[in-house]
Symmetry: C2
Subunit: 327 residues, 2 copies
């Protein structure tokens, strides 16, 4: 573990704070900072190493993690570019990837950048909600572009699969952003719609009294901070909007079937192949085989091919990536 | 408890079987029957009193509960009409109410009928899945029409709030059917769409590997038997279709806002008044006050007014209904 390179984490909210806590616990040299003095103070009181600003935090770091809100990414990237050491790699934990890459390219850091997104969170935010366990052994998406430096990718994968004990799906930015639209942003929008429909109905009070089961699970995420949901959905608008158009088309087909007194058999059974292999409590215990991919040639491209088909990186040695194939 | 009138339950599936088990445990005289000999045999082996056919079951019953699938309701109602005692009341446990009332009216039983629907279930079906606890102390909807006999309504309310220990929201059929569209049927359709969208996407395998939180809860009910969901949605088509049209309109407004790079602030905050008072884990512990409504004049109409505003009947004495008002 002590072989892990020094890490700087910029932004000590829910994710940044949890990351510093976990890396500290694993013995990785890590320093954090935050724009808010009160947050820096709270992090120090929690026993973490905290710098007073970006310049101090970034100096001497081999990996810099941007854990600031998306709207701050552009300004912080410019600040980072002024202080970054010549070999340091930049990554992030943002929930969309293409806009972050554009911000870093505009700051002249495109060739240093490897995208990352831990698939974990809670309905809370801020350092006060951060926990050492939140990012322990979770699934990450790690994103690459055609110009991504393989050594920098290897460095991020070693951090994720080493001290952080996670798995990594190596994807393109677009694959990642489409996936998060489908598995997170669109579900947040439709949960909000389900809740709105009852909240604004004349039968609201009786409906809430009788609601249970399907309404409770269907609206669960609509009870998280709606301002945060609005921001998250807006940041991934290029993928969320077309995915919502598909929602509209699919629902319109169901309406037509209902109004024609016909069946919507195809709609209700379209996901039958998935029903046997995935469950909403998480995937069934993974029994998939492992595969070794040598870190030579276009190995990043090979990882993207494998991960698009459901494989994840579980370990990186000096010269091989170990993949777990879908079970 | 022994004062409860003898009950016959026709259909011993998940709900009918659970109802006979619970009434038996509470010391109510109850007999069940089912069209399937194997189901009758299983119910007898479970220690329940079982008749071999509708005629035997119905004879001597003061309350007859139709617990057969909706598609069988019409035929069973005609059979019941041939054997029913002159004073017996007919009720049911169907998940839609207006079509059941029409079936009973066509069988000449409209004046005997009070609708009922326990808001409970599991993803399983059949007598093998029935349990004594499933319908214990649950929320019921009890539905009335302008011609409903107040004494028959009182009888059903006494059964629900007495030996079954439940609460009852007294509603019109239309209120009930709109509410179940909003809190159950539409949530099932959109959960199915969320699952379909991922199941049919090129990024499916990577998406399922990264899916968690919002996707898991948003699709939970899409993992129940899709054929049963299709039937349930189709049976309430007159209310589900317009509710789905509202889904389409609302989602289209979000798409337009996203594509115009504008905010969808109103959409994301429309349910703010509800966020503080209801939670998907069920309503906060009810602190509402109680109100006594004398069983005189148009007391059924008064209960409908109160229940549409969120009140529920918790007890019926000889001359009063006790309501719990929303907290």
């Amino acid at each position: 573990m002590s072989a892990a390179p020094p890490v700087a984490v910029l932004g000590l909210g829910l994710i940044g704070g949890s990351l510093v806590r976990l890396l500290t616990a694993r013995g990785v040299a890590v320093v954090g900072t935050d724009a808010a003095p009160a947050t820096r103070e709270a992090a120090r009181e929690a026993g973490l190493r905290v710098a007073d600003g970006v310049a101090d935090a970034v100096t001497g770091a081999d990996v810099v993690v941007l854990a600031v809100p998306l709207r701050a990414m552009r300004a912080v990237a410019a600040d980072v570019a002024r202080h970054l050491g010549p070999d340091a790699t930049v990554t992030d934990v943002g929930s969309v990837k293409a806009p972050v890459r554009r911000a870093l390219e505009d700051a002249g850091l495109g060739e240093r950048y490897v995208g990352a997104h831990p698939m974990a969170g809670t309905e809370h935010s801020g350092f006060g909600a951060s926990q050492e366990t939140l990012l322990d052994a979770v699934a990450w998406a790690v994103t690459v572009a055609p110009g991504t430096d393989p050594d920098r990718l290897a460095g991020v994968l070693r951090l994720v699969t080493g001290p952080l004990r996670g798995t990594a799906a190596v994807l393109t930015d677009d694959q990642h952003d489409e996936i998060t639209a489908l598995v997170s942003h669109v579900p947040h929008v439709v949960a909000t719609q389900l809740l709105n429909a009852v909240a604004t109905a004349p039968v609201r009070d009786a409906a809430l009294g009788l609601a249970a089961g399907s309404f409770a699970s269907g609206t669960r995420v609509a009870f998280t901070d709606p301002a945060r949901t609005e921001a998250m959905v807006g940041e991934n608008a290029p993928w969320v909007a077309p995915a919502l158009r598909k929602v509209v088309r699919d629902i319109e087909a169901v309406i037509e079937a209902l109004e024609a007194n016909g069946g919507a058999h195809e709609f209700f059974h379209a996901a039958d192949p998935v029903r046997g292999t995935w469950s909403p409590g998480g995937r069934a215990p993974v029994q998939g085989e492992h595969e070794q991919v040598p870190l030579s040639g276009d190995w990043p491209g090979m990882l993207v091919d494998r991960c698009a088909a459901g494989a994840v990186v579980v370990r990186l040695t000096e010269d091989e990536a170990e993949l777990r194939l879908p079970g």
